[in-house]
Symmetry: C2
Subunit: 465 residues, 2 copies
């Protein structure tokens, strides 16, 4: 049985780690969940972090790790049970080392993703993980949730961008594994086990991150396509032409554009009529192959193949940033409108178009609503979000919301897809995992959780019930 984080635990913690448990530690971005914080502790180094975990283990107190707090599935929010200790990585903000010629940076978990990206840029490299919340999201959270974002198509998710970790295990032991090696086959892959475990198997305190060369040529285009199916054929064409040079391939819908109009009327859009489907294509290419020429070649081939109808190719860094801004403001526009329900799904690429058709038809039969379907098409990862019809409000859909999500997830799973592509399980999707997870896999996950965290103190209630 767990006990609350209280004064007697506080007395056993290392000097000076406690923070005021203000509301910033118990909130999440959408404001739908509210957590508790018996204590908030922010270690300055891994040894203090380990001492906190040992104290919590001794006292049987739940530990909820917290990075930037930007998670969307409640992994950082414990609402029930004895009040936990919130373990914030906010003071572990060192970039311990950077090796430009190796393409490696060692960053502590409290470093924001933005700061990590800037540190890489400072040595003429890139840390190719980019997502909307990067100004707040921290490396520890990014790793613990195996974050994705817009460049997974070329560089993989967080797991693929990490060579090693330092972590405090639930026992309070420190695992020192900050390797800078591209190959190291010496035993079980605990790094990838802790990455994506959402703090339920230990606390990642630092990571050895992969830096990539900045492409010699970079470019962005926004292309109007007939349909998601046409977009995917265009992707196939682009991959064949550019041999790994496509670094992002993002779907934008007409609904996205109209929501941007509503939320950001001052934002200029390149197409006067709002097309129903567009893709934002980003390329990173070798020296000797100018990006605008490569994108024009793709555009022309797409036109000839009947896949593309219109498009703009950025002629400057500013224009490229403006096109990206359209894509990046969609989540904010969504919040402005107010979603009924959001879904972070992925599908095998050949199932994407069929899913969009079938889900649209299914929803049309259930009620009057708007669908904003957008996101990382190149990864088969869609943000499939439902909004009230004009003139109606979120609450009008309260009685069907759960059913809507259930049905969408059912359709996704039936097509071999995932009900959580990049956001994780957290606490909001625990029931989904229990329902759709492979039984043998779930049994093995529970066995691992029991073996590494026998007291059940690490982020209880997240991932596994």
């Amino acid at each position: 049985m767990l006990t609350p984080a209280d004064a007697s635990l506080a007395a056993r913690l290392p000097q000076g780690v406690l923070r005021d448990p203000g509301p910033a530690y118990t909130e999440e971005p959408r404001g739908r969940l509210k957590g508790q914080a018996g204590l908030v502790a922010a270690p300055r180094d891994v040894q203090e972090c380990a001492a906190i975990i040992r104290a919590c283990a001794t006292a049987r107190v739940a530990v909820v790790p917290r990075g930037g707090g930007t998670g969307l599935v409640g992994g950082q929010i414990m609402s029930d049970g004895p009040a936990p200790l919130i373990l914030s990585l906010e003071r572990m903000t060192a970039i311990r080392d950077i090796f430009p010629d190796e393409g490696v940076m060692i960053a502590e978990s409290g470093v924001t993703l933005q700061a990590a990206r800037m540190a890489a840029a400072g040595v003429d490299r890139q840390f190719p993980l980019s997502l909307a919340s990067q100004g707040s999201a921290q490396i520890g959270g990014v790793m613990s949730t195996n974050a994705g974002g817009v460049n997974v198509l070329r560089f993989g998710n967080a797991r693929a961008l990490c060579l090693g970790i330092e972590a405090v295990l639930p026992s309070g032991e420190v695992m020192h594994d900050l390797k800078r090696l591209r190959k190291d086959n010496t035993g079980y892959d605990l790094r990838d086990l802790l990455i994506g475990a959402e703090g339920t198997l230990g606390i990642i305190t630092a990571a050895s991150l992969v830096l990539a060369p900045v492409p010699a040529e970079q470019g962005v285009a926004l292309l109007v396509v007939d349909s998601p199916a046409a977009a995917l054929r265009l992707l196939s064409l682009a991959q064949a032409r550019l041999s790994g040079g496509v670094t992002a391939f993002e779907l934008i819908s007409g609904v996205s554009l109209r929501f941007l109009d509503a939320a950001f009327p001052e934002m200029r859009q390149p197409f006067a009529a709002r097309p129903e489907w567009l893709v934002l294509v980003e390329v990173g290419l070798p020296a000797g192959l100018p990006a605008d020429a490569a994108l024009e070649g793709l555009f022309t081939q797409g036109l000839e193949a009947g896949l593309v109808h219109d498009g703009v190719i950025a002629q400057s860094g500013q224009q490229a940033a403006d096109l990206w801004a359209l894509r990046e403001h969609i989540p904010l526009a969504n919040r402005h409108v107010g979603a009924i329900a959001s879904h972070d799904i992925s599908l095998p690429l050949s199932q994407v178009a069929g899913f969009i058709d079938d889900a649209g038809a299914m929803l049309a039969g259930l009620g009057d609503m708007r669908v904003n379907c957008f996101g990382h098409l190149g990864d088969g990862n869609l943000h499939y979000n439902l909004f009230p019809a004009p003139g109606r409000v979120r609450e009008d859909y309260d009685d069907i919301r759960r059913d809507l999500s259930q049905r969408i997830h059912e359709m996704v799973v039936a097509r071999g897809g995932s009900f959580s592509a990049e956001h994780g399980v957290g606490r909001l999707k625990v029931a989904d995992l229990a329902r759709w997870g492979d039984p043998a896999r779930l049994t093995a996950m529970r066995a691992i959780k029991g073996a590494l965290d026998p007291l059940g103190i690490m982020n209880p209630g997240a991932v596994l019930a």
Copy 2:
């Protein structure tokens, strides 16, 4: 306590799975280890595989999984203890499905790597995992050992090329997780845990493999460099110019060339004088950037920077194959000469040159021998192999062999490197792992092993003692 695989177990196995336990099931490539086989069973499908595991669990019989048998660290060889059941995947050879536009292939574990690569080529894609033993090595073994090879620099190791697995867990349960998704954050990463576990946590029976587009432009060059340090500066230069277009960057030594002369005198070499250091550079580039022009640009820049002194750029597919043949025949040439000791090490890139210098000096102080240092320089992965001085034989070094390897591994570990970059731990490196592995990581590994395989039947003695 385990019991031997005997007639009473045989009677409980599914009909028709038993094979004659010939010597092919108890040998390994270097002929140094000899295993035992109480029984050999070859299931035709995952259900038969699961039934075999359940029977072994009931009878407390050790299971040693076997793919192509090409492993170099004895993971497939159990010499001690009650005779095991050898579980051969040789009859699970279906390519179940192939999705060219998704870049995915579902292959059973008994498919050879060569067959998988040919199946990909048949739909105009590549399975970018390539290694010397690919004609025999099977997908199951490749995955279970997280195999590497020559294209890791661009495409990652086996782990990075697998989207999902089907596996039989030690309990006999089947984990169905053959996803075709690029993003799927729904719980612990059991896929990557089983990959690289060398059969100690379960049997991988099929894998969902990543296929990549065939590059629009491909080319190969063999460049003469001053030193490994110069080679690494050239790599840095190539990465900056070619933005991910370098698909292989292999080091070849003068010793390699002279061994090739001895073993394959008919093989033509491009440089009459045998240079001391060379790199084989392979590129895969977008349409519009001819590979020979890109390689010439790199060659010229390397010359100007004083890094490259001579070189050849393949002018045809045949010439490219001939240059690759030099690299690929080095292991055979090594066997012809007969190594005293071999080391599959990796180092942080900035530590490679210093290691080569220091290790050479250390060895010079210990005795008269030849070093063939070659391999996957772009990954920091060297095959650092020691050979008798001319006129002497392997046995002359019997009394110092263990000490030599120990000292080399010590130097590697002191520089943040790995004593097993791509071959794995198997049984030959169990003591190395116990000595150099992080203690907290080892404790966690043992806890996981105990949780998933409480009877200890899965490949006992491999990875963990």
